[in-house]
Amino acid sequence: METMGPADTRPRPPRLAAWLLSRLTDAAVRDQAMGDLEEQFRAAAREKGLLRARAWYRTQTWPLLKSFVENTLLWEASMIKNYLKTGWRNIKRQKGYSFINIAGLALGMACAILIVFYIHHELSFDRFHKNADRISRVVIDAAMQQNLITAPAAQMAFGPALAKDFPEVAAVVRVRPQSKAMVKYADRSSYETGLLYTDASIFDVFTFPLLAGNPKTALARANTVVLTERMAKKYFRGENPLGRFLRLDDEADFAVTGIMKDVPSRSHLQFDFLVSLETLFGPNPELREDWGNINTPTYVLFRDRLGPKEVKPKLVGLVEERLGPLLKSLGGTMTYSFQPLTKIHLFSRFTIDFVAVTSSIQYIYIFAAIGLFIVVIACINFMNLATARSARRAREIGLRKVVGAGRLELFGQFLGEATTHSLLALAAALILVRLALPFFRSISGIDLRLGASQLAWLVPSFFGLALFVSLVAGSYPAIYLSALQPANTLKRGWKSGPGSTRFRHVLVVFQFLIGIVLIIGTGVVRRQLDFMRNRNLGFSPEQILVTRIDDPAIFPRIESVKARLKEIPGVVSAAMTQAVPGQMSEANIQPFVPEGISENEPFLFRQFSVDADLVPTLGLEIVRGRNFSRDMPTDSDALLVNEATARKLGWADPVGRKIKTPASYEAGEIGWKEKTVIGVVRDFHFLGLREQIEPFLLDLRTDSQLVVKLKTDRLSSTIRELERAWVEIDPVRPLDFFFLDGFFDAQYRAEERLSRLFSAFSGLSVAIACLGLFGLASFMAEQRAKEVAIRKVLGASVRGVLTRLSLEFLKLVVLATILAWPVAYFAMNAWLRNFAYRAALSPWTFVAAGAAALAIAFMTVAGQAYRAASSNPVDSLKYE
């Protein structure tokens, strides 16, 4: 410590007081004043002691502090009070303009808030799981010949092998969704869609809390079931369900071993019943070791976040060991990868999928952009009206400057005014959001629930939004207005220069550009939807009723069942099939070996089984050869192919050609069976219009879905009769059906949602832009009253003046339209690339959007222009 020198041993003035003094004294004299004080302090310390010296030193700061508070803080506070007061007075004095400003900002902010809700909802999918960042879904890429299929699933045996071989893996869970089952307890029974066969480990991997039952053992044994709270209420009412039995599909009883909380809407897995996977192995023990079918969605909980990266390269060995011979015989490769749980909702696009509800990140970007643009449009209104009205404020600004306001103070004042506006707008926006929420829920199809947990980020983000708005909206007027020269503004008849007018025009063009792009977007999305709904699909989905025959015992007598149904007068025909169009996951994807190709190089094609009646019932068209026939016993070895298959294989006439189909998988070897092509079906859209029509094969076998074509008239009585006939067919299960057209179009729900949201937001953006335009037009009418009066005195007609004034604004809208066209063209083309089949962009969409914007703008401006044009010149000129 000695080395620190003598300075340390000397008395020092109190630190806080010294710091205060140095902050509060003027920079020019700070050094000498501080030096003087310190010298005196030392002298006092020697004479009167350190304590008194320090006390004295401290007293020196009080008067300074007092004067600082009086002169600076109080002054600033009263200035801020003054800014707010003048801001408020301005709002009150100019009610019309303030209304336009606040209404525009409020609308824009309300849109932004709703969009933020939507985006937050989408981004928060699956994040409620405690270990969300360590959970991945297994994805398989299988490549064979020229086919590449990707599926978010694995083989049944893959999961356990992964858990056994890799210490990085903490737990694995497999799920097998069942599309529908009849659930029965006592006298209560109904069809349920949310069934999931799963491992006991589901509760280790995911966070689905059990309200009753032991998560470790609940699903360990065969024939056990865990149900959600709402299903427990539905079936058991007041009883305690634990230990009781539910009957599924009238086949077996399942012991209820647990009750879980309802699945949150923000989960990509949606279900009401968890059935133990063990149940499936009872009748089919070989399923446990199935490496042949990729049909089991599998989720992995890793020990840490690096798990997927570490395990993925090591999987090559596992693939080689288990699948080597099979892959070699097929000439294919198979790669496993891991998709993070939190990306499933927004980043899933697979050849086959097992969960229906997936959104797309693309829509998040689109809506984020729309939200931002709408807020900017509203901010532009504020900027334009504030600078346009600068002439009115110019005197005030001049006077403030003359009495000593600096640029900084004026800058603060105008920013303060923008803040006042944006806070008022925020309050209004929150009310609007509250009112619009039910409507928004219905058009977005999202169950938006705002709980206390959301408030933690909502409240700050609201104020963030208000701050953003006041900065964007307030900074240009603040810079512009604070730069005005008092000498100019205090002169009579000062007007803002042409520069600021030009800038306002640029901003108006920008507003309308965005509005028009959104209108065009609405038009294009709607056209594409109409196109998808009305396009000839290659089959007729109208009046087609689809149901499932769950009891395989009915299959042998299926011909008599169909005959019975056809007796009903309203029924045209009936057929059995494995899958109907739109049921992507029901069809198989299998290897096929066309003639002339080695068994080691098969093609992967989609295939499903039908009976002879499906082609006429669905209205499919045979372009070559013939349909399956009940009278030809050899047809069990026959195939129908679509035109895409013929094209892919390069066959001009496929009829009579041979294709080997897989008949059995044993010991990793495929047993082939040769079948003959008997006909070609015209290409039809088995998948939605997003997807290209792919090669496709049909074979003859009875499978479980019953398709009934109905006559258009007397639909409801036909259905009643069908229900009556059904009791004879399957006395246990009630008839449960859907209509194919509605089911098929349900694939376009995301596009429908987009279309509805697009219309709403484009309408609002144009409305906000028009509010601003209205403000500018009425301001112009007021400003140019004298000019108009002189024109009229010199002989201009009302019409001439009206045209002249309106044209000035309409020119801007026309310019915006022309600029919007290329922007919309590129943006919408990019969106349309999502669809294999798309409606061509029509120039009329573009012209109509421009015309609509022009018409709306004209209506907005014309009233104000007419008011100016029709006024009596005397009124405007009498004071000159």
Binding site: D26, V29, Q32, A33, D36, L37, P63
Partner: protein, 105 residues
């Protein structure tokens, strides 16, 4: 002639009176002693700086000492213009008082 404010006058007088020892704190103490009012630091140093700018006082920087926390002492003295101004104000004062009746406190 230009009239000056009372505090300017007091400062100029204090500097003249203190001679070689006229630095900020001494000037302040002199004025506090004479007026009996606790003048703020700013109330002395501010006008001092202004007088300096106006060319009525000159400043001489002393050596920085550890006693002062390593800061230099600044001494002031009147410039010829300062002396003229001080003389003038005294003459104005005397001229005003001349012939006026006595004030009994």
């Amino acid at each position: 002639m230009k009239l000056m404010s009372r505090i300017d006058e007091l400062i100029l007088v204090a500097i003249w009176k203190l001679g070689k020892d006229a630095y900020g704190m001494a000037v302040r103490e002199e004025i506090i002693r004479a007026t009996g009012v606790n003048w703020l630091l700013g109330a002395i140093y501010g006008p001092l700086a202004r007088l300096h700018r106006q060319g009525l006082v000159a400043s001489i920087k002393g050596e920085p000492t550890p006693e002062r926390g390593g800061r230099a002492k600044v001494y002031y003295e009147l410039t010829p213009a300062g002396k003229t101004a001080l003389k003038a104000i005294r003459e104005v004062s005397a001229a005003m008082w001349k012939g006026s009746p006595r004030i009994e406190a």
